[in-house]
Amino acid sequence: MSALQLRDITLRYGARSLFEGLDLDLHPGRCRLLCGDNGAGKSSLLRVIAGLQPATRIRLLDPPEQRPRRAARQLRRRVTYLHQHPYAFRGSVLANLRLALPRGLGRATRRARLDEALRWAGIEHLARAEAIRLSGGERQRLALARAWLRGTPFLLLDEPTANLDAAARARMLALLDALLADGRGLLIATHDPQHFPAFGRDRLRLAGGRLGLDRAAAAPAAAQEAG
């Protein structure tokens, strides 16, 4: 799996510019945090990287592509996006997982993959439950299981720990660890980097339409805890 290398990411709505000329790399098996205040444009940036919103300007390296719509299509094949509050479709948890299965698999393979996904996310007991009745934490795990099944090399998570209690957060972090061990590259948008102590080393900050290394990340973690 090769790195995802993005150059000159620019998004404008009419005369309003959200960000200009951002460069960003994601690597398999590595996690980066994207920090920034509310309204800094983190979600918009994630949407662009996920190919859900064509950029005004963007350049992909390897394979090279700079036509925004084509780039978006390529990104959709390589990246899965998880909403802050994941959407659950009508029907059971199992039906929701089925949506994420690649097409053209045999019946037995599908079954096995679904079972594996349920076990992986620890939601076997919810397989037949109505997906829209799940709690916030269960729904996050369903969304992660869907992303796991979808199997793209990169995952973008938008504030994945928002509104989760400590126990649900711990489960979430364990699954993220498993994804990293699996070789997936993660980009996590958060305004609460303390929630990700183990992933906190590689921090970016989006502010004023510019992307830079987070200054706070340079300070020792202990100082942050104390502050």
């Binding site: 959709r76 909403h83 959407y87």
Partner: protein, 237 residues
């Protein structure tokens, strides 16, 4: 008052005795309206999806247009197609005036705007995350649209039932385009109009009962299905 009860009693006798003339008329109504609905629904749903999900110039204008068409009286639709289909009209060659096909055309024009307008507003209510989730999980635009339609399937079904309610009960277009020919284009509503004008109320009342029973069955069925699917609202979860 006595005449009403007498006529109603007679109407029940007609219904229960399986009077062939009466059930013929019911059959015409069903054949025409079901055909019109089957032909109108697929393009109407496609149009509604385009209006809801695609962005193109003139979209808002089209939405307003379909909402306006909801208010067009059936006789005006009848008049329009009468002029188009009459011998001297631009489509006179087709020789369709006073046939069931002409009635079907009129009813398609009545059903289409209802399904488009109601389905469009249902699809617009869908959470924008649903589309993004479907796309990021690998669904193409068509499959994603189908998934979203599944999310509001009962609202879409309600739009189809509302359209059926309008066309099975309309009289203006069926009268003008069908011509009320006995055994061919005489349907429930045109028969009621004719029998009443002749002072023969029993058949009119009997046919009216069939319409009411039908409307009740459809709505009860829809309500039952919706009730079965009702879940906790999402904001409580």
């Amino acid at each position: 008052m006595e005449r009403l009860s007498e006529a109603t009693l007679h109407a029940l006798q007609l219904l229960l005795s399986g009077d062939p003339a009466l059930w013929d008329i019911v059959g015409v109504s069903f054949r025409v309206s079901v055909t019109a609905l089957l032909l109108a629904t697929p393009p109407a749903l496609l149009l509604a999806a385009l209006l809801a999900f695609a962005r193109f110039p003139g979209r808002r204008l089209l939405v307003s247009l379909f909402n306006t068409l909801l208010a067009v009286p059936a006789v005006v639709v009848g008049l329009t197609f009468y002029l188009l289909l009459s011998r001297a009209g631009p489509l006179g060659e087709w020789r369709l005036l006073f046939t069931q096909s002409a009635m079907v055309i009129g009813q398609i024009s009545l059903a289409l705007p209802i399904v488009v307008a109601m389905a469009h507003s249902a699809l617009q209510e869908i959470d924008p995350r649903a589309w993004e989730t479907a796309r990021t999980l690998g669904a193409g635009p068509l499959r994603a649209a189908a998934l979203l339609m599944g999310e509001v399937r009962y609202a879409l079904l309600a739009s189809v039932i509302a359209a059926f309610g309008r066309i099975i009960a309309e009289v203006g277009s069926a009268m003008m385009l069908g011509g009320n020919i006995l055994g061919y284009t005489r349907n429930i509503t045109t028969a009621i109009a004719l029998e009443t004008s002749k002072g023969a109320y029993a058949q009119g009342i009997a046919l009216g009962m069939v319409l009411l029973l039908l409307a009740f069955t459809l709505n009860a069925g829809l309500h039952w299905m919706q009730g079965r699917s009702r879940l906790q609202p999402e904001y409580l979860t």
